[in-house]
């Protein structure tokens, strides 16, 4: 083999291998410590079947979180409101024009009604915050202790599409529990 080719090829190949390894390493380590870096689509919120704008409801209309997520202060889950609750404001038989001025809003709301006639299937919302099965997270005590929703969920009112803002790794939970004097016994969440 030509030694000049070797002389050039070895550093080039070596450097590219190093680069790939470094990238993968950086990705794995940063994903371990917090959320994966926002490349390859990580860090974006999932698209929902109905483009529900929290911006309008929280920032513009000034609704309290608990107005819709009603069981958050008493139960494990915050729960997504039923369609009926949407329609309570937006009108049952036709879309109330006062609350939905723009054309896109009309279109999205139409989906709500369209579903009504069909066999009663719940709307298939995509989950944004996902905890593993072995974690038992209960919303109620957190709300009762006066922790605001935005502590974990971020400024929802400013999100067109809801996305995960906190990594919710175990360290995140444990640090917060430690700082606030909450129990750090493993069996608080794992059972």
């Amino acid at each position: 083999m030509n030694s000049r080719v070797v002389k050039i090829a070895i550093p080039v190949v070596g450097a590219s291998v190093l680069l790939v390894v470094a990238f993968v390493g950086w990705f794995v380590i940063s994903a371990w410590w917090s959320n994966p870096p926002p490349v390859l689509g990580f860090g974006e919120g999932p698209e929902q079947p109905i483009a529900f704008p929290h911006t309008v409801h929280v920032s513009d209309a000034g609704l309290d979180c608990q107005f819709c997520h009603r069981t958050v202060s008493t139960d494990e889950a915050a729960t997504i409101p039923a369609v009926a609750q949407c329609l309570f404001c937006h009108g049952f038989d036709k879309i109330d024009g006062r609350l939905s001025t723009s054309e896109t809003a009309q279109e999205e709301l139409a989906k709500l009604i369209a579903d009504l006639g069909e066999p009663q299937q719940p709307i298939n919302w995509n989950r944004v915050y996902r905890l593993p099965d072995h974690v038992q997270f209960v919303h109620a005590p957190h709300i009762q202790q006066g922790i605001s929703c935005s502590t974990c969920h971020g400024e929802i009112g400013e999100m067109q599409v809801v996305k995960q803002v906190r990594n919710l790794k175990m360290r995140d939970c444990v640090d917060c529990h430690r700082d606030n004097g909450a129990p750090t016994d493993c069996s608080t969440c794992h059972y």
Partner: protein, 458 residues
């Protein structure tokens, strides 16, 4: 006695580096076959990871079986290297010279084989990082140092690192020889890096010698601690027949017994395969066999203590386990086999000089010892679990599954496989040790006979 044959340095270089520079057919065949077995074992491990530990023969309440037995066995084998190199080096036994490298490298490889066992036996082997490395920064939970299973990896990794260093330090002068003889081939750059610029100056020799002595002395406590800690996995628990105070020295000396036997096996096979008749003599295995008699008898003393002190306290649960071990099939037969093969046959045979100096006899007796010692570990670990306590009305037995057997056989192939690979790139007999030994030969005139004599090293 030991120094009948005088060899020139050139002859030593030529004969010992023969395999490094040529690749015989038998080498390819054997390595291929062993690699096949190892590959099958890897497939078996993959199958087990895919399906779960249900594919083993483990069951309530026998949570540990073939894997842990094999782990203890290989940790035991690994004790030979240090025994041969460190202790004999410190006690300046001249006959150690041709066997140090092979024994040390067997230590390293059998430790690797041993390490695989607890890793694959874990229920979620992909999560063992919690267990082995204290890495868990993100949760602020660290491994529990109270657990003997934490002492284990600490001891074994320490042992692995120090014995690898030990091997490497002793390898440097030989690497330089290969470097110099491999000029113009791919070997030159590789061995040039590996030999760390060795050119044999007195200063380098002095440093190398000091490093050897220091490592020998430092490795001894590690050597004792490793198998003691393995024994405490069992000793500190409450399982009847495991909770025995004598376990630590009993395991250590049993390890030396099986390890030195394995060295004998290895020396005989190596001699045959690599035509090392000029280096491994009858005197060498004779000396090993005499060492083995002492070790085996010490082992027997501790075995006897274990047995007698378990029986004479006459605790119900102990008696149940010993009854199973001694009198119920198949355990009783295994016990008989273990005791006969590891002590009753070999030790009296070794008392005869003709056996000690016969390569054939020593090969078979040393193999027998290791069959027996494998069974010994099996008989220590499993019957205690089978009859663990009165609250399970489940007096079944443990039967290994084909997957477990395949994995165990895989480790049996793995060590010779790695040894053969190693021998392709590095000489199995240290050139410089043999050359140094040649330099220390002398003669003393006693009356009218000339007696071979040794220069005292200190």
């Amino acid at each position: 006695m030991y120094y009948r044959r005088t060899l020139s340095d050139a002859q030593i270089n030529r004969e010992l580096l023969h395999v490094v520079f040529t690749t015989p057919m038998w080498w390819i065949v054997i390595v291929g076959l062993l690699g096949l077995v190892v590959g099958l074992a890897v497939i078996a491990v993959g199958f087990m990871f895919n399906q779960g530990l249900g594919v083993t023969g483990l069951r309530q309440p026998v949570f540990w079986g073939f894997f842990i037995t094999n782990f203890v066995f290989w940790v035991g084998i690994s004790h030979a290297g240090v025994m041969i190199s460190a202790i004999l080096r410190l006690s300046q036994a001249e006959w150690r010279r041709p066997m140090v490298r092979a024994a040390e490298i067997m230590t390293v490889f059998s430790l690797m084989a041993a390490l695989t066992m607890p890793l694959v036996h874990a229920g979620r082997a992909w999560r063992i990082f919690y267990w082995i490395f204290p890495y868990d920064w993100s949760r602020g939970i660290w491994p529990d140092i109270r657990s003997p299973l934490i002492w284990d990896p600490v001891a074994i990794f320490t042992y692995l690192i120090s014995s690898s260093l030990f091997v490497y330090t002793a390898l440097i002068p030989d690497l330089a020889v290969i470097r110099d003889r491999g000029k113009g081939t791919w070997r030159y750059p590789v061995y040039a890096v590996l030999s760390l610029g060795w050119h044999g100056s007195p200063h380098q020799w002095k440093l190398q010698g000091m490093a050897g002595i220091l490592l020998s002395a430092l490795i001894l406590p590690v050597f004792v601690s490793v198998h003691s800690i393995v024994s405490w996995d069992f000793g500190v628990s409450l399982v009847p027949s495991w909770h025995v105070t004598v376990f630590a020295p009993y395991f250590v000396i049993g390890a030396v017994h099986s390890g030195v036997s394995a060295v004998v096996t290895l020396m005989v096979i190596m001699r045959k395969l690599y035509h090392l008749e000029n280096y491994i003599w009858e005197e060498h295995i004779d000396a090993l066999a005499r060492l083995l008699i002492v070790v085996a008898t010490g082992w027997f003393f501790l075995f006897w203590l274990d047995l007698v002190f378990s029986l004479w306290t006459r605790e119900e649960q102990e008696m149940v386990v010993w009854n199973l071990r001694l009198f119920e099939a198949p355990w009783g037969w295994l016990f008989l086999t273990f005791f006969i093969t590891s002590y009753v046959i070999p030790v009296p045979l070794w008392l005869f000089k003709r056996v000690r100096r016969s390569f054939t006899w020593m090969l078979w007796t040393s193999l027998l010892v290791n069959v027996g010692m494998w069974l010994e570990r099996f008989l220590i670990i499993v019957p205690g679990l089978v009859r663990k306590g009165p609250l399970v009305f489940d007096y079944g037995t443990y039967r290994p599954s084909p997957i477990e057997i395949m994995i165990v056989v895989g480790t049996l192939a793995l060590v010779p496989f790695l040894l053969l690979l190693f021998s392709k790139f590095f000489p199995l007999i240290p050139l410089w040790e043999v050359k140094e030994g040649q330099k220390l030969i002398d003669h003393v005139q006693l009356g009218n006979v000339e007696v071979p004599a040794l220069v005292k090293e200190h």
